[in-house]
Amino acid sequence: MKFIKWLTLSLLVVLIAGVAVSQQKNQKRKGRAALSVPKVAKKDLICFALYTVHDNTLKLTAQLYPLAAGDSRTVGLEIKKEKEWVEVARATVIERGWTAPFRVEQWNDSQSYEYRVVHEAGSTYTGTIRKNPVDKDEIVMAAFTGNSIHPAHGGDISREDIIANVKRIDADVLFFAGDQVYDHFKHYAGWLKFGRDFGEIIKDRPTLCLPDDHDAGQPNLWGESGKVSTLGGASDGGYSRPGDYVKEVERAQTSHFPDPVDPHKIGQGIGVWFTNLNWGNVDFAILEDRKFKTGPAGRVPKQGPRPDHIRNPDYDPASVDVDGAVLLGERQLKFLDQWSQDWEKTDMKVALSATIFCGGAHIHGGANGRLHADMDSNGWPQSGRDRALSALRKGFAFHCAGDQHLATIFHHGLRSHRDAIWSFCVPSIANLYLRWWEPLKPGANREPGSPIYTGDHLDGFDNKVTNYAAANPEKKPAGNILNTRSAGFGVVRMNTKKREITMECWPRNVDISDPGARQYQGWPRTISQFDNYDPPSWGKLGKLTFDVENPVVQLIDEASGEILYTVRVNGKTFSPGAPKGRAFTVKAGRDQASAVILEKAEAGGSARDIRVK
């Protein structure tokens, strides 16, 4: 019997060891990328640097490779003034995640500066702090999401095409909407790789990276103000990884953001970073659409194979819009309320978040996983979605996001189709998970010649949406990398003079400066800034002619006292749109709508000359 026992034990050991060894060999097989922190020479200790400049404050975070025990933990930031390097700030390296956050107040943003981050071991990293492009007519934002590095779908293919294209368009700002790192355990190693891949364009322009679910180390994220999640898939709400891990991720990706407008921490001591960045007279609201959101598991009646998936097309959408379910949360809604009224040094407003405010896909997964609705999208909870869109349209904000792995353009509706903002969901850099926008019924009110999936629809939560474009991937496997999986990136051109927004959606590995280069079907599309709140049912108050250029105008509903919207006019004339049959107080001013210029104004009113000087 002893022989049997030892034979069993030996066989087990051999079995486990054998499979373990074969696993190590499998690391190299096609499909998954091996991720590690490389050892670098002392001169290369600084991997990359990210920065923003807002309200005359420069915030720059240098990302370092691990320092040795004897290495200094202090890093300097120098800028070149009259051919001399001048130190403007020092920072102590935070060892957990190896970041060095710099802050320079009273920054002169009217001119560009070369900068370098210096570590005394002999490492330097150089870049350019751009001047605030307030004199440019067009602010160009390059936008990305879903940075998978796995070879199975082309994640290992070089990002050089993206680097070259961003340089060609000389983007003013970069926006990474989320999932910069897919590895759920090695964010630091993944972040360093992200820096090696994109540092060349990041170092020279303001960059906004929003940590999304995979960055935080989980497949989906309903943050529930910092709760601890214990359910596989995390649909019970909260964070799966420990608070310290999440804090490290956020420190790496967001510590260079303008200061949070409401810095109170959430559960597990996790910070917040929702704020705004004013750059080139475009005011970007940086939203955390995951951090406060309620997890659906146990909160909503089960309607599908997962707590967050609804597969039953006959379910009652109202049944999942449960009391107490949060999307942006009160703190962010309060911020948006103030942000939408603030037009100081602002011509246009853009909201940035991880994902879009609707269910933006019907088929999820490899080929045909049709879902009626996905609560990971911001279509749920519907009341929270409506509150977010109501707040955003008050500032005529255009919305840009990612996460869906499927590029789309939607015009959102609340009470009626097309009465709220537009959104552009950008395609994945390399597409880990396929989705399709493929409604079963053709859309209503489609543009002539447009695909049947466009037009007015209800998403799976009965939210009103109007689709204008969807870069659906191919259905059958066809090479199955990058462009057959609709990989690519977005470009948003914000013309502050014409007040127009142009959305471009480019595949990978094309030269976008080549006149022959083609975007995904449905792009480019140009809209007016004012299309972000122009319900079809509205009338016009009457043409207002001001004595100053570009005043700020605000309409207040006299019955409710609620602000309908605030916007900076383009030029001296403006015909305010407004609901018919209601009276409004109109306020205006040079930079703030501080003076009442009209009372009891109604749609169909007569033209007026207005003095605001």
Binding site: K5, V228, T230, S240, R241, V300
Partner: protein
Amino acid sequence: MKPLQADSLLVLLLRVGAFLCLAGWTWVHFYWEGPYGVLLWKDSSYALAERLGIDWEDFVGTGADDGLVQRWIGLTGWFYLAVTVLTVTVRQKSYIQMVGLLGGGLLLGVLAYAKFIGAQRQLPMLVEHGGQILAPVLLVLALRLGVRHSVTIIAAMIAMVTTFVGHGCYAMGLWPMPATFPAITTLILGVEHETAAAMLWWAGILDFLVCAGIFFKVSRRSCALYAAIWGLLTAVARPVAGMSFSLNYWGADQFVHEAVLRAPHFVIPLYLFLVWRRSDQIETVSVDSDIGTGPDAPQKVGPRKMTGSPI
């Protein structure tokens, strides 16, 4: 307790373990969904289907209806239900039902493989399902060969070792520890993450030690008892940490099956504890009987009367 009664109890224990495991997974298949998408939504799966003459739309559906993939995933739950029923109805000579139960082990093996692929081919994910895969197999062995038969006991030892080695690999951080391990620990014990991780590391060490310990007579009973208690605690920890009065059904539909389907994690070590307890006593009594003359003559309960040969 008389030996035949004890054996019946042991069979019942294995029956309960297999039943709970399969019932838990049946619940998952009907109420939620089996984890097979990762196996079927693959080009290679489609290539295989294509070689069998199945075209794309039949394989994945048209978008408006289901294809083979969805239909097969839906059908799997019925197989699980049938095998769950067999754990109750199977008897010593129910050969066809035994074949069905062995098929249940195969089903659990496929499921474990799907989870292994879904977990990015982390070996412990496959290994830790050994206890569950072997739960219906053990029931068959116990009925067919005897609850004390060496093959049955060795199979139970393999089941326990795989489960605990798999857990131990994760707990010690040899593979990235699932986030739920420390999260559950912090919530239940109210400790910081670092403390939870340290506790789990030691628990991982103990996982390996008990796996080794069951191969030594001096330690096998205590190791099996520890494993039964630890297996029970780790199984019930999921509903304990996750359920809340504020959730629909208190969150029972989300969490209870997570404990139920892990029944083999504590039932199999408990079976080993009991079977060794009995056989150790028997051996002790047998030795004593050489010099004893009492009315409860040990030879009546001697090993030769058992339905197998204890090891």
